[in-house]
Every structure is written in C-alpha cells, then in structure tokens.
C-alpha cells in the first residue's frame, strides 16, 4: 500500500458503504473488513447535520480489476421526520479524491443517497451509491432490513438482526444478500455479516464508534 493510502486511511471519510449517521458535535470512526472489500472512515458532524471526513475504500470481487479510493467528503442530512416513537431520515453525500482501478489511477468521485426509517423494533435503510475512478465505476443499491429481538436500554447490549440485500451494477456485478448481526453498546456498534453472491460467500465485520 502506498504511504498516501495509509495516511488517508488513518486520517480517515465518506459513507461509501456503511450507513450515514449525523450526530452534531460528535466525531465518529467506522471500519469494515471483508473478503472482498475493506473500508475506513472518520469524520465529524457539525451543527446543521453536516458531516465532513475522509475515507479509504478497497473493493475486489475477484471478477475484473481491483478498485481502491481515498475520498474527502461532505454528507448532509436533508430531511428528518421525528415521530413520537420513530424517526426517518434522508441523507446525501458527495466526495472527491484519488482512486485506482487495475493499473489506472486518477481523480475519484463519489455520491451517496440514503433514506432510512426506524423505531425501537424495526429498521429499514435504502442506500444508492456511485463511485467513479479512472477505468471503472461502482453503482450499488443496498437494502438493510433490521429487527431487534428485544428492546435493550442504553447501558445494555442492544442486538439487531438484519437481512442485507445489495445490487451492484459496477465491478463484480450481481446481487448479493445475507444475514447481519449488529450489537450496540452505548457509543460502540459491532456488526458481522455473511453475504452470498452468485457463486460464493463473503464474511464481513465492522465497527462504529461515536466520540
């Protein structure tokens, strides 16, 4: 890995893969690692629900060339609906940076649109995402359907069970889906999933921290 990639990874952020969250006045760190992709993001949310950050992203299905990008980004909560017991959000994000696809490298651009709804028992999230680098692009639609087996308190471990479905129009292509377990405790979230694509399985793990 190039030193610049390492530095960008450590500095860290855009919501390229994971769910966008806006917590004004707080910083966050996200990391995911899987057989076919890895992802690191860090950033800070300002008043007005605008989040700035850096991310590093690597993707390789084994079909076609590998794909890497380091992107500086801005995400914005466009609209939030606060119900008595539920909440819905629409986010958008754009980013610019450097990317590589196979042997080509150059300017990378990313755009994300996300909508979600949740109450204490159910969570639905749809994310549309596009990443462009010289020589390739990735256009992915991701649906997360989540259910909490029991309602935990803030100072208890809160489990969520998800089914994740992803359609990737770019490199690697095709539909993948699988179960995901999420464990939240106060300001930490762990996630584990196994995604099945057309001909194999991919294990992925991640975490998020708010600070």
């Amino acid at each position: 890995m190039k030193p610049t990639t390492l530095i960008a990874s450590l500095l860290g952020a855009l919501s390229l893969e994971a769910q966008m969250v806006s917590a004004p006045g707080l910083g966050f760190l996200r990391a995911e690692y899987g057989d076919t992709y890895s992802y690191l993001e860090t950033g800070y949310s300002f008043k007005g629900f605008r989040t700035l950050g850096l991310s590093a992203y690597s993707f390789d299905t084994g079909v076609g060339p590998s794909f890497e990008a380091e992107v500086a980004s801005v995400n914005q909560l466009l609209k939030r609906w606060n119900g008595s017991n539920d909440q819905a959000n629409v986010y958008a994000g754009i980013g610019l940076g450097r990317g590589r696809c196979g042997t080509r490298s150059g300017l990378a651009a990313a755009a994300t649109l996300q909508a979600d709804w949740e109450d204490r028992k159910w969570h639905i999230m749809l994310q549309e995402q596009a990443i462009f680098v010289p020589g390739g692009s990735r256009l992915a639609s991701t649906l997360h359907l989540g259910w909490a087996p029991w309602l935990a308190e803030y100072d208890e471990w809160a489990p969520w069970v998800y089914w994740v479905i992803q359609h990737d129009n770019g490199l690697g292509g095709g539909v993948s889906h699988g179960p995901q377990l999420v464990l939240m405790y106060r300001d930490v979230l762990y996630e584990f999933r196994v995604m099945r694509s057309s001909n194999d399985y991919h294990a992925e793990a991640g975490l998020r921290l708010l600070f």
Partner: protein, 200 residues
C-alpha cells in the same frame, strides 16, 4: 459453505484486518469504561481567589493547574492565583470533590434538582449517545442518564449552576430530536433513575 478470500492487495488487506482487530479491542475498552476523568474536579461554588459566587461576574474562568480544575469568577483573578497557586490549591484540597465531567456516576449528589426531559423519536443507542454526549458537554450538567424505554433524559446540575428550559430544548433540538416536556423535581438522582427504570 466456503468462504473465498480474494484481497485486492495483500498488504492493504492485512493492514485493514489488523486495524479492525485493534479497533475492536480499543472499542471494547471504551464500552467497559465509558467515562474518564482527566483532572480533579473543582469542589467549590465560589471563586477560590475572590470568594465571589461563580457566575456573579459572568461566565466563570476555568483552567487546569497541575491536574486540578480551577474555576475563577473572572480572568482577572488568574493573575492573583498565579502569584501563589499553592495557597489557593490548599483551599481546594480540604473540600470534597465534585465531578469534573458529567457522567452516570453512582455517587450523584443527594437532594439535588432533578430535571426530567421527555424526548420523542429517541429510538436507538446512537440516538441516546448523541443526546447523552450533547448534555455531557454542557458545563452546568453534573450527571446525565438516558432511558430509551421511557424516552426520558435525567439531568442534575453542578452546585450553583443553572440551565433554563430553553437551553435544554436547544440542546435536544440541535442533537436532532424533539423535546416534549421538561419537569423539575427535588430528590436524589439515584432514586429518579430507579423510578425511571421501573417505569414510574
């Protein structure tokens, strides 16, 4: 079932795997020890130099000296403090410590004003973290407790500190949630927490 690893680049992939494992270890430590104290908290409700009540001269001037938080009524008192810090620190040493940072410490003060804030749409841990940390940053707040089931935040304030209902609404709104009701009662923080857990 077979899992077929196909890393894009071995060094990048290894780096991310090690990084993730390290972060999991670090985050586990975060989860186990959610609050930390970086300095001895200031134990008085008045300026240690002038004896004026904190807040009577505007916003208190706060700084740390050799691991001790010091609160003065104004910046002018800093000059006098610096002439003989030991003399003033000795005044603090004889007083019981009050919390430096808002937390859910079990030894919350007895007989304090308890503020109950009912908040709509607080649905998950990250919502709770968001609000919890927002109130933690308020220098007037001594303790914070969030109960998701009751959609309620409990606050108690540091001695001589005050927070208006409007300030509380602003904190909740800026965190992205809707404040519904604010109630103030006298009592102990622990009892208020227990009552909330029991659904009272």
């Amino acid at each position: 079932m077979t899992i077929m690893p196909k890393p894009a680049c071995a060094c990048y992939s290894d780096f991310m795997r090690h990084l993730l494992l390290s972060l999991i270890a670090i985050s586990a430590a975060f989860a186990a020890e959610p609050t930390t104290t970086t300095a001895q908290p200031y134990p008085l409700d008045k300026c240690v130099v002038s004896d004026e009540k904190l807040g009577s001269m505007g916003k208190p001037f706060i700084f740390k000296h050799e691991g001790q938080e010091v609160r003065l009524c104004c910046q002018e008192c800093r000059k006098e403090f610096d002439t003989d810090p030991k003399k003033f620190l000795a005044k603090l040493a004889s007083k019981p410590a009050l919390p430096d940072k808002p937390s859910e410490a079990p030894s919350a003060p007895q007989g304090a004003t308890i503020i109950k804030v009912l908040v709509d749409c607080m649905v998950c841990n990250f919502c709770a973290t968001n609000i919890h940390k927002s109130f933690e940053k308020n220098p007037a707040v001594a303790y914070v407790y969030v109960n998701l089931k009751q959609k309620t935040i409990l606050l108690t304030l540091k001695p001589s500190a005050s927070v208006s209902d409007d300030e509380i609404r602003t904190v909740v709104t800026e965190a992205g949630f809707t404040p519904k009701e604010i109630k103030r009662t006298e009592g102990t923080f622990e009892k208020a927490k227990d009552d909330l857990k029991k659904g009272n």
